[in-house]
Subunit: 298 residues, 2 copies
């Protein structure tokens, strides 16, 4: 079968064998924002045409392709939800040449009753749950909008999103903090300094201005600003999650190499055990969900 | 004498009598960013020419005009500092037609040793100190970068800046939260909802994403997004300041009408007493500092 993670800015496709092993894969900077209205079937056909020609008949998609801005909207499934509920809620898509389904996103409400949503990460969590069984665990999926999920009894019990990556990007691109910053290599020392700063009093909004004042006073190099800001924001993110309860086991971490390394450094700095998960855990989740879908006979 | 608050985006000038009363004033959108290199003397002469022609011979300036990007840099004076130290540190400026001095900014370090700076607000605080005498007090001067100052023994003991206004602006103009927002009247209900949200668990970065999720789920109108975000950010700012110790008396609040109203609402929501100070308290501070400067004989 073919499993696809089609997000806002990226398209990742996997050709998987019956046991879920990756036979081949595609990775393109062709997220849903790059697709013209009505252009999804053609874009998909173009991308996976060779695999269809080679005999594949089943396609399962997850990610923002199932959002209002995507191919078709797949309703959010409320938490707690596990692999069975997710597989039962897939949405069929009209596509010539293969049977095609969309994985639904998940929704949750936090202690304050405020909603939260994910699309794509639920499939990674299905992949992770296959390893964890029914154990309780905390998963961290860093990204533009980082997702933290509590797993229990073989399902996603709940989750919370942190706006860290996007906040960092707009501050660096559009605020006075960015005007101060100069390009430079990632500085681990500045990143760790930002992490430690996040544990001090004053709050995030004060710490942000402090980044500018450190620069003004010559206490932080312009080339270190971006790394310091990353440490500061990721530090605040991790502090906020921990304030709601320390994890009972290692934090399961899955994300791109750069982000996963940064979060791993934060966990080490704060004395938190973690376990790295492969970034293509989404392929495993897609394969597992695909196993229980009632595919039409070819 | 003539007192001037020349900031990044605004120019405010006051003609003051011997007792500090405002005889006349100017308010222009001609901050230092609008002045070409070397253009400060000409811009000042043009603005206050009529007052000089009428016999004024003394000019005192405060604000970002004393920064590296301004007319001339006036070094920061470290806290604690009061009216006497500030007046003793004014910097003379070469200007045809009047004796001219710059008020220095202030610097401080927080508990973590991270520096902080202000320019212009120190002059407002001098105005405020004249009322307070040697009593301990907390002052809040909201703005793009809000300043919170602790006053004691007739001086500014220390202060902390919160990056609230600029964070709000870049999020609304450049993040996905802004794409969700539609223009609308200020909503007091949405603002208060944001304030209350700031007291819940999860942290600011989670609450920011929640703003989007509320919109997606139809729980927050697009026209209410900006007001909700203001409440959320101001709420986090006030929480962070209070976490370092509750004020012993009313919070002294001085800022533009719109911002002061918003902060007053936040203080009321959180059960904090406050006292509004006039927005032109800067004129009073300029007059008080001017009293003790050794002006040259005309």
């Amino acid at each position: 079968m073919i499993g696809i993670d089609w997000g806002t800015t990226a398209f990742r496709a996997y050709r998987l064998d019956d046991r879920g092993a990756v036979l081949d894969s595609l990775d393109r900077q062709a997220g849903i924002l790059a697709i013209p209205p009505g252009g999804f079937p053609a874009a998909l056909g173009e991308a996976i045409g060779p695999w269809l020609a080679a005999g594949e008949t089943r396609v399962l998609l997850c990610g923002m392709v199932g959002s209002r801005q995507g191919w078709q909207e797949a309703p959010y499934l409320p938490c707690p939800a596990g692999p069975a509920e997710i597989a039962a809620a897939v949405v069929p898509l009209a596509f010539e040449g293969a049977a095609c389904f969309l994985v639904p996103g998940l929704s949750a409400r936090d202690a304050g009753g405020v909603p939260d949503v994910m699309r794509g990460e639920e499939t990674k969590l299905v992949g992770l749950l296959a390893d964890l069984g029914t154990a309780e665990a905390l998963a961290c999926l860093p990204g533009t909008h980082s997702k933290w999920a509590r797993l229990a009894a073989g399902r996603v019990a709940g989750f919370a999103t942190q706006f860290t990556g996007e906040t960092r990007a707009v501050l660096l691109q559009h605020s006075i903090l960015g005007r101060l910053a100069e390009p430079g290599p990632v500085s681990e020392a500045a990143f760790r300094r930002g992490l430690r700063r996040s544990r001090e009093a004053g709050g995030l909004l004060h710490h942000l201005f402090g980044t500018r004042a450190l620069g003004l006073m010559g206490d932080l190099a312009a080339t270190e600003t971006a790394s310091y800001l990353s440490g500061l924001l990721i530090g605040h993110e991790v502090q906020a999650v921990l304030a709601e309860g320390a994890p009972t086991g290692p934090i399961h971490l899955a994300g791109s190499e750069t982000l996963a390394q940064a979060y791993a450094m934060a966990f080490n700095e704060f004395g938190l055990a973690h376990r790295r998960q492969p970034d293509d855990i989404v392929a495993r989740g897609l394969a597992l969900i695909a196993e229980t879908i009632p595919w039409p006979r070819p």
